[in-house]
């Protein structure tokens, strides 16, 4: 088997044989991305209605269903409507602290079983049980760390309490977000990614960041667009005008 040293040495030998290359540079990285992101957020906060409108347009273009509610208190009712339209009875969700809104009591009263994902370390048998619960749920409810207007993309960072499969295994995914999550472009996502990786990451951060742009799709059979091949067949976004609460 080739060792790291041998492998890199071979690369260096070949590199040494390449004189006279044109000068090229990677994309210029922002200095102090965290600070730049803060500045950007302040700028964006002044024009969020346009950003939201663009997001809605693009989201519907990729077959997403857009909802808008005035306050966080109206989120459970919006979820209940989505559930009743699909006769959905089992729902898995990020816990209230991660979601920024409490949904379980109101939905429970409406006869919808809500399983909130645990935030701490869980034993192996509980992990296996929860996977089954998520796999058989009708609806998965998550937040979104970013909502990108240019592409209608929801960016979700995994963590304890934010399992990856909540937005993957159920046939319908609903993401709840507010204006704090809105950014305009992929370029701005690049800045956010730089900022999130500046210095030591918070210990609770998970190992995966997912960009989600519309429902799961394929065109592998005669180029016929078909939704819900492995991931959700449906995706909804609920925008909360009055904002979600942030416990962090």
């Amino acid at each position: 088997m080739t060792s790291k040293a041998e492998f890199l040495a071979r690369i260096r030998t070949e590199m040494a044989k390449t004189p006279g290359l044109f000068t090229a540079s990677p994309a210029e990285r922002p200095a102090q991305p965290g600070r730049r992101l803060e500045v950007l957020r302040r700028e964006l906060s002044e024009r969020w209605p346009q950003t939201l409108e663009r997001f809605r347009l693009e989201f519907e273009r990729v077959a997403g269903v857009f909802h808008r509610v005035a306050t966080a208190a109206e989120v459970p009712a919006a979820l209940e409507r989505i559930c009743s339209e699909r006769a959905a009875q089992r729902l898995v969700a990020w816990p209230a602290e991660e979601l920024g809104v409490t949904i379980a009591p109101a939905l429970g009263a409406a006869g919808i079983a809500v399983e909130s994902m645990p935030r701490g370390v869980v034993p192996e048998h509980e992990r296996i049980r929860l996977r089954e619960v998520i796999a058989s749920a009708d609806l998965g409810v998550t937040g979104a760390d970013l909502a990108v207007a240019e592409t209608a993309t929801l960016v979700l960072v995994s963590a304890a309490g934010r399992p990856r499969s909540t937005s993957l295994l159920p046939p319908c995914h609903v993401a709840v977000f507010d204006r704090e999550a809105l950014v305009e472009s992929l370029e701005q996502v690049g800045l956010a990614l730089e900022a999130w990786h500046e210095g030591t990451p918070p210990p609770e951060r998970g190992a995966v960041i997912n960009f989600i742009t519309g429902p799961s799709r394929t065109a592998d059979i005669e180029l016929t667009l078909t939704r819900g091949v492995h991931g959700p067949k449906e995706i909804h976004a609920i925008f909360v005008d009055g904002g979600l609460s942030r416990h962090g």
Binding site: P26, P30, A135, L186, D220, I221
Partner: protein
């Protein structure tokens, strides 16, 4: 070295493809659609042209410091708790993965679409040690059930009709009487594969990019299988060519902005998954082990080779769709893992120039591929260089080499050129029909087997010029 998949000559493979009416129709519909989708995506995106230049510059800059970027990548993947392996050849890459499979007692491996694992012929090797490989991209799943190979980089089963898929599923999945309805067939695949995702021990993927400074492996899929494969099994192995490394997240944003537009005309593929090592404490899912296999397999030799620029390739498939040769013969006729114009270059990279002695000529050099390429790889230039190499290394047939040498000599001497025009005019007489030469005798017949030759004019341009 990777062994060739087929042993019949290109001419036969191409002839067979040209005679396949269904294949022809499918190719025509698919490539025409992809071309339109790509064109519309970039028409809506004025900054696209500048971003393509930017992306190209990033690829070149990364190659110029490839050792440093790979070292950074390795250090960061290891910091995050992942393991990195170095494979000089396809065989070494297979061995690494088989070792992991044996050690972890894997019985089933779910795979997300990956050209790198196709290239190293991983599935057969897994099968041989008793691990069942399951392709989970719908197109790949179809061709795996049919025991075939992908015909397009991003749409592996475009050569199959829905009727054929229905028949295949009915037979192979023991669900008789399935209708030729993509909706129904997709649902069946969802059920079959969902079960596999939840029970497989091993998840195997390629990588669209690897971001060095954060140790991130990036996977782009539309179906969500990439997410399944990296979240549900207890071990995840990602296989990537060394050229997939990019320096930073800022660079990643540039590539994401052009990749899907070039491939399927989407603004962004449905899922972009950034994987940073194994499951972290408190996470409900994600693998216990994460392995990254860095693959050379002929790539490193091209850092200073004639095919250097093909190391920029993003595997988007845009050059296939616009290629007049690909559009006629499809992916299988190329005979190797990577089809289309870029595929010829990658085949030469993996298997040496001898493997493309015929394929190097399977291009009209029209330049459509270079125009379509998101990172503007000059494919025609490298194809010409490959042809020269095939000639210089005496890989081309002797008759061809003699003829071209003689021709080159003629072109260098005005007197010889004029003389040969006169001789040619005399010699061609028995072969000219309706102003074309359709067949030539002896070894020259090779040339006219698939093309006509225009005869030498009654009066050449040079002769007329003198009289003006």
């Amino acid at each position: 070295m990777t062994e060739p998949i087929v042993s019949t000559p290109l001419r036969e493979r191409a002839t067979r493809a040209l005679g396949d009416r269904l294949l022809h129709e499918a190719l025509d519909i698919a490539t025409t659609r992809f071309i339109a989708l790509r064109r519309d995506a970039f028409a809506d995106f004025p900054e696209g042209e500048q971003l393509r230049d930017r992306a190209r510059a990033i690829k070149e800059a990364t190659l110029q410091r490839l050792d440093a970027h790979l070292e950074t990548l390795v250090a960061n993947v290891e910091r995050l708790g992942g393991h990195v392996h170095f494979a000089a050849t396809a065989e070494e890459a297979r061995e690494v993965i088989l070792d992991i499979a044996r050690r972890t007692g894997a019985r089933m491996a779910v795979k997300s679409k990956s050209m790198a694992t196709e290239e190293i012929h991983l599935n057969d090797a897994l099968q041989a040690i008793g691990v069942t490989p399951v392709e989970t991209d719908l197109g790949e799943y179809i061709i795996q059930l049919a025991h075939e190979r992908p015909s397009h980089i991003i749409a592996p089963a475009i050569h199959k009709t829905k009727g054929q898929v229905a028949e295949l599923f009915s037979r192979e999945l023991k669900r008789p009487g399935l209708p030729a309805d993509p909706e129904v067939l997709t649902k069946i695949a969802r059920e079959e594969l969902r079960e596999k995702f939840l029970t497989a021990d091993l998840g195997i993927t390629g990588a669209n990019f690897a971001v060095a400074d954060t140790g991130t492996v990036v996977l782009v899929t539309n179906e969500g299988n990439g997410r399944m494969v990296t979240s549900l099994p207890r071990v995840h192995v990602a296989v990537m060519g060394v050229e997939k490394v990019i320096p930073s997240m800022t660079d990643l944003a540039v590539f994401l902005a052009i990749l899907a537009k070039s491939a399927t005309g989407q603004k962004l593929s449905v899922y972009t998954t950034l994987v940073q090592g194994p499951r972290r404490p408190g996470e409900l899912e994600g693998p216990d082990e994460f392995h990254l296999v860095l693959l050379d397999n002929g790539r490193i030799a091209q850092i200073a080779g004639t095919l250097r620029e093909s190391l920029y390739c993003l595997r988007c498939g845009a050059c296939l769709n616009v290629c007049p040769v690909y559009r006629q013969i499809g992916g299988h006729a190329y005979g190797y893992t990577y089809p289309g114009p870029i595929g010829i270059l990658l085949t030469a990279m993996l298997n040496g120039p001898r493997s493309v002695k015929d394929l190097a000529h399977a291009s009209s050099l029209c330049g459509a591929c270079a125009d379509a390429c998101p990172v503007r790889i000059d494919i025609p230039r490298m194809l010409i260089e490959l042809r020269r190499e095939v000639d210089e290394r005496k890989i081309a047939p002797w008759s061809e080499r003699v003829v071209f040498k003689a021709f080159a000599r003629l072109l260098r001497s005005p007197a010889l050129y004029r003389l040969s025009a006169r001789i040619g005019r005399a010699l061609q007489r028995p072969f000219v029909r309706d102003g074309r030469i359709r067949t030539l005798p002896l070894v020259f017949g090779q040339w006219t087997r698939t093309r006509d030759l225009p005869p030498v004019a009654a009066r050449t341009f040079q002769e007329r010029w003198r009289d003006l």
